[in-house]
């Protein structure tokens, strides 16, 4: 970059630049709206769905396999339950999974990555070694194995995903933490008498926050995707609780004629993952970080 431009840029605050980048990026705003809509639908599900009783074990054989119409906007399934209702309820399970997994995996991964990058030596060797091993494990295979060998249900699926997920955060935060730890201000803080705890939480962590938040947003998409795939393969919530992945698996038996039974829940998953992904991409451009 020319000496001139860098100097001029110094006059712009990082906050202004970030905001500028975010607002110039329509896809980021669309992503944010999509995420908000998914969250609202999930939270308000009992209030807005047309057939609240269809979220459970209800049967409605008169309308089984009904094609989408005015009564059932997205059609009905094999026992006549409204698919729209079940899709909206399905978001609840997906978001629950996201929160459950990321609430454990992100802090755990971040803490390990932070420590590995800052302390170096054996701490670094052990943590990065462990991360590398974990990354070599095909996550879906491992989650299936863990979940199924135990007992196929949502909690076990969550545990299985969490066990593998922290590694990505550890890897990412490690990279950032290592480069920050090499900066002069970290040494200066140590020389000024700061404790390791102070350095980790006050000097290094604030510099990792943007990376962590971008990664977490993108991860929300992948956890939804991953959870849906697990339940598609038969490791999901016990019926009759609506779950998008298992709805697709159920509907698949009636293809190609009853296409709505697959496409509605399938595209619902896609809608949620796309929203989080667009938002995450937008945040990445906004913070100008590499994830």
């Amino acid at each position: 970059m020319s000496d001139n431009a860098t100097n001029e840029l110094a006059a712009l605050t990082p906050r202004y630049m970030a905001w500028y980048r975010f607002t110039r990026n329509p896809t980021a705003i669309i992503g944010a709206l999509m995420v908000i809509s998914v969250v609202l639908l999930a939270v308000l599900a009992p209030l807005i769905v047309p057939y609240p009783e269809h979220a459970g074990a209800a049967v409605n054989f008169r309308a089984r396999h009904a094609a989408p119409d005015l009564a059932y906007w997205l059609g009905t399934d094999k026992v006549g339950r409204d698919i729209l209702t079940r899709v909206i309820y399905g978001f609840r399970v997906s978001l629950l999974l996201v929160v459950g997994v990321l609430a454990v995996a992100v802090p755990l991964g971040a803490a390990l990555g932070l420590a590995a990058g800052y302390f170096g030596g054996w701490t670094e060797r052990i943590i990065t070694g462990l991360t590398n091993v974990m990354l070599a494990i095909p996550p879906l295979v491992m989650a299936l194995a863990v979940g199924n060998v135990l007992e196929p249900n949502l909690v076990n699926a969550m545990i299985a995903i969490t066990l593998l997920w922290w590694t990505w955060h550890a890897r990412l935060v490690y990279r950032v933490s290592k480069s920050i730890a090499a900066e002069d201000f970290v040494e200066a803080a140590r020389l000024a008498g700061a404790s390791h705890w102070h350095v980790l939480t006050r000097e290094i962590l604030p510099n990792c926050i943007s990376v962590i938040s971008v990664k977490t947003t993108l991860d929300a998409a992948f956890v939804i995707l991953f959870g849906a795939t697990l339940s598609f393969l038969g490791l999901g919530v016990k019926p009759p609780t609506p779950d998008l992945g298992s709805m697709v698996a159920d509907g698949r038996q009636f293809l190609p004629e009853m296409w709505w039974g697959v496409l509605a829940p399938g595209f619902a998953i896609f809608y949620a993952t796309l929203g989080f992904n667009l938002l995450g991409d937008g945040l990445r451009d906004m913070f100008d970080v590499e994830v």
Binding site: A136, I137, P139
Partner: protein, 342 residues
Amino acid sequence: MQENYLYTFAKRIAGFVGVLLVLSLMIFILARVVPGDPARIALGPSASQEQVDAMRVEMGLDQPLVHQYVAYVSSALKGDLGRSLISGRPVTTEIAALLPATLELVLATVILMAVIAIPLGVITARYRNSWIDNTGRFFSIVGVTMPSFLFAILLQLFAAYFLTDWPIIGRIDHTLSAPTGPTGLLLVDSLLHGRFDVFADAFQRLLFPALALAMSGIGQITRITRSAMIENQRRDHVLTLQSFGVPDRVIVFRYLLKLSSIAPLTIMGLEFASLIGNAFVVELVFSWGGFASYGLNAILQKDLNAVMGVVLLSGLFFIVANIVIDIILLVLDPRLRLKEAR
């Protein structure tokens, strides 16, 4: 210099061996501590307790865990992964029979990924912010975010409604007698035997599963290639060449392409882990009958020996792929070769 780079490489291989050991240990512990007695699973619920106990002795389950693990690893090294609890046949034999199907699918996928994603990444970066870029980015984000089972089903639906003659199930038409050997890959073997009818059918059947499996990788790699290109475009060395009037297309397709393919290749190595997972889904949807389908069945039936074999082999798959990528990177990036020498 030569020695140093062999040394770097040896270190990587040693790391991979460590990965396999830890992986085997993890899956071993998992298989042994879980509720559910392998001997009971093998014999079924109707067997008497005496029969089960006898089976436990036969399977070595009465030995201490450490002993069992050492025995497992040492026989695994000799290629013996134990017997399936369900069929009673050696796991190695069962997997070996199904492996070529999966190998063919994965190879086709990787080729699709490299052939589509890297050029797409380059082109979107070259025409940044134009309609070409926007379309390319749209497709790559769809690839990344769409569940592979949904994409697979969409392809099937598409075929069902619009390409009614297109075969969408299985590897090969059962009325065709497929040639056997030497590679087990239908496309290769049929060509070697001059069976173009088999080749055509196998190719048609391979295309959709490979596309479904490649989708997420294509999206990911396109994005990474694009951002690497854009990042490198800002570098001083681009300015050097521009200052002397080297044409843009040479800068992009020679200088930037090589430099910018390092990052996506590295990511491709990591992507292999999820690629193997997605193969489970895609094989299921397309009734592919490969190693992944076998694994899925084994997991659902709690066939512990088979599960251990499948997990280990998936790890091995990942590792072999990464070794190949390491070699490509060493050829591509002189900095990796020179680092140790300085």
